[in-house]
Symmetry: C2
Subunit: 131 residues, 2 copies
Amino acid sequence: MYTIGQAAEMTGFGHDTLRFYEKMGLLKPQRKRPGGARVFSDDDLRLLFGLKCLKRMGLSLEEIKSFTISNRCMTERSSMSEGDEAVLRDRIGLLTDHLARMEMQRRELDELINRTKNNIRLYNELLDGTP
Amino acid sequence: MYTIGQAAEMTGFGHDTLRFYEKMGLLKPQRKRPGGARVFSDDDLRLLFGLKCLKRMGLSLEEIKSFTISNRCMTERSSMSEGDEAVLRDRIGLLTDHLARMEMQRRELDELINRTKNNIRLYNELLDGTP
DNA sequence: CTACAAGCTGGAGATAACTCCAGGTCAACT
DNA sequence: AGTTGACCTGGAGTTATCTCCAGCTTGTAG
């Protein structure tokens, strides 16, 4: 259990950013302390690290929100009732779409990495070839 | 040689976006037509496609700017004079840093893809396991 | 008991990256 | 000559994502 200052320090976000994420509904730290101070759990921190990663992948906070919320729902329920099946199928669809996008992104990234390696090699040859 | 409208259509950017990129110095299409209309070359289009790719990787326009400008300089010169060597080394440094960042991003992306695949699998088992 | 650091809130301000608009130029068609 | 459509400019407006601020509460150290 951490204060907002500790959570900020550990995740590298600013405290204002964490409050902003809460406003957006990305995060729901508990509020039990007298003045209404936030209490961040290890789960909250994990979510924040995941968020940071997704952000670096270029997802918007809204996308991340729908993504992490569907994930959270999954881990919360261990048994299923009859009507939940459709919801579950929706989530599978969402995740599958997201997966496809990430895989495309990976292909692009690979190509970019290769092109960059090539450029670096060319540069080095240019250097070595003209001493 | 293309008009701004054609370039916009082909690259998927809006025409205002292309003008905005020019204002930023990311792009310098020729301006030979009477009213000062822009003329986009195949090189300009290649640059735009590369830009789009880099953007999807999460780079800011400023980062892309320094990156594409250093690349453009490379392809422009085929022979080297003595003082250029230091400049060249700088560029190699810039590209190498960028490469390292991209490779880290790739590792993160891989992990994320695997986690997502796992989640999808778990969901599907949940569905299949409770008919 | 006072001082101080760390939290809190609501709202304003900042930045990046567009996006739109009014009013003007220019070439081509009718 | 007039209309139309694509392009031009400078500048205002928008959206997402923070970032900062003034003024208040609370827990702890001296």
